[in-house]
Amino acid sequence: MSKFIMHRLLFMVVTLVIISILSFIIIQLPPGDYLTSYITQLRSMGTDVSDEQIEYLREQYGLDDPVYVQYFKWIGNFLTGDMGFSFSWNRPVNELVWERLGLTLVISISSLLFTWIVAFPIGIYTALRQNSLSDYFFTFLSFIGVATPNFLLALVLMYVSFKYFGINVGGLFSPEYADAAWGIGKITDLLQHLWIPVVVVGTAGTAGLVRIMRANLLDELGKPYVTTAKSKGIPNYKVILKYPVRIALNPFISTLGWQLPKLISGSTITAVVLSLPTTGPLLLDALKSQDMYLAGSFIMLLSVLTVIGTFISDILLALVDPRIRYV
């Protein structure tokens, strides 16, 4: 097992190095350098930029160094937490990202939990009652769930809650709490707003997961080991939870790590529609405005999370399936 982990770690480092080079290339892709576009932008707004100022900035970002030196400067800074400067926000990138990360994680993790808590029992239930009325009902419901675009659901929910409950659900806080310090009131306010993004983000995922769980479990229910377990005289529900459900869950447990990058980049459109202060819209803006340090940092960050997520998945898979652990 430790050899397995070491092996994966080694690959992980190699992959990350390659990704960092790619991210750096992306930052460099737009014609000219970002300073040129920054200065153009400043000039177009009527701000006067002196030559000394330009020289100072070129010096600071090492723009006159050879490309590889620039790369090492960038990645070195990245590793120490300095992700560069966002020209469109006029603030350091890491400040921007960290500021939004907390709430992004709150939304993503709550919707993931919502998805699992709702989807697994329904998936198991519909598999056990295959082709019954309740199975058809949930199947119908989950097809609608899969087919409804998230942003549409977001709009509908916003409309309904505004029209009938008088709550303005855009954002995560009511105006009076937005800048308030954390306290019971603010948390209650957050929870009142949180359910809509969680339901919106969670619905499609839940619906898809119900289908997958149902199919996985149906595959397992007919396996001989289920009959063997029943032949031991153990109650049905124990047999089903211990054997086929356990095995049908394997793919979910082992792909848990893949959720990691989604925690940051997922549900961007929903976040835009609901005007949530999360990282998704930030990434979108960065790409639109060619804010390359911000965009590059995001790409790097997402890649790191993807690689770490895959690493976690590998380990989880080995943990849940002994056949992989012992190879």
């Binding site: 007919g222 080991y225 063997t228 029943k230 031991k232 005289g233 153990i234 095995i247 849940v320 002994p322």
Partner: protein, 335 residues
């Protein structure tokens, strides 16, 4: 003492409800097992051997339905249990599965859960039925593994099925079957998935366990060689019916049903100079539309004529405990 039977199956009819229609898997199966006796059920693929055994255990899949018949089981205290009328997953039936009857399956690889240790799967059964703690259950499981000839059981008990060889898996399966000391062991093609040398070892083990635990045994197989070595009494099945039954020597020396005769002829022999191996002509008829009359008439070399297509022949006792359902052995004077 009137009744020394442990199991009596009468007129068992099992239907499978599939999308294509109803499959009549069993059409009136009769057989019995005496206490301590080894009974064989033999027949081609699809004749209903396994359906018979899963019906006795009440482990039929959801689409299977016991349409008619009775299954009577007599437990350790000779108390009669009416298996058909019990709820398949109910407490009563589950108290029989395990401590009273248990089953060994054909494919030991898929019959064990791949993600639980062998020990876990055996201990689970012991813990459920017996009033013992985990340590005691583990000790018992170790004892069972040792008993079925698994070396280093202390190490093997914590291993997973894929770490066992095929023969060892079947030994572990037997150990699991013997946990809770059942009275009746049903072995469904226990050696089919194993290679020949391992087959012999596993059969020897089953026989030894039968003697050691004083088990009644139902052995299901398509292999007449296995039947000859292992059982006292044989039931030959064809298309969901027992067509001939008798003591093992009787069946091998005086087979009465043309189907049994053909089956025996199709065993390869080292001696003899036929050159070509005999086989039964034709294929097993479609189970969705069974032939009228005797189901074997479509392939029978000794078909008498229309009478074979008219109705299913009655059971005849042609010698002590030797029964056959065939018009060849009936007085057809009045027909």
């Amino acid at each position: 003492m009137a009744n020394n039977n442990i199991l009596e199956v009468e007129n068992l009819n099992v239907h499978f409800h599939t999308d294509e229609g109803i499959v009549r898997a069993l059409n009136g199966v009769d057989f019995k097992v005496e206490r301590g006796e080894a009974v064989g059920i033999v027949g081609e693929s699809g004749c209903g051997k396994s359906v018979t055994s899963t019906s006795v255990m009440r482990l039929l899949p959801g689409v299977g339905e016991i349409a008619a018949g009775t299954i009577k089981y007599y437990d350790k205290n000779k108390k009669q249990h009416d298996i058909i009328n019990l709820k398949a997953d109910g407490e009563h039936m589950r108290s029989i599965r395990g401590p009273e009857m248990s089953m060994i399956f054909q494919e030991p690889m898929t019959a064990f859960s791949p993600v639980h240790t062998i020990g876990n799967q055996i201990i689970e059964k012991l813990l459920y039925h017996e009033d013992i703690d985990k340590d005691e259950a583990r000790r018992k499981a170790l004892e069972l593994l040792k008993k079925v000839g698994i070396s280093k059981p202390e190490q093997r008990i914590d291993e997973y099925p894929f770490q066992y060889s095929g023969g060892m898996r079947q030994r572990a399966m037997i150990a699991m079957g013997l946990a809770c000391e059942p009275q009746l062991l049903i072995a469904d093609e226990p050696t089919t998935a194993l290679d020949v040398t391992i087959q012999a070892q596993v059969l020897k083990l089953i026989k030894k366990m039968q003697a050691d635990y004083n088990l009644s045994l139902i052995l299901i197989t398509h292999d007449l060689g296995v039947i000859a070595h292992m059982v006292d009494y044989v039931n030959v099945m064809y298309l969901g019916r027992v067509v001939e039954s008798g003591p093992v020597e009787e069946i091998f020396d005086n087979p009465a049903h043309p189907y049994t005769q053909d089956l025996l002829k199709s065993i390869p022999r080292m001696t003899g100079n036929e050159g070509k191996l005999a086989s039964i002509e034709g294929a097993v008829p479609d189970a969705y539309s069974l032939p009228k009359g005797c189901p074997f008439h479509t392939r029978c070399r000794k078909k008498i004529g229309e009478v074979c297509e008219s109705a299913y022949p009655e059971r005849q006792e042609i010698s002590a405990d030797h029964y056959v359902n065939c018009y060849l052995h009936q007085d057809l004077g009045d027909k």
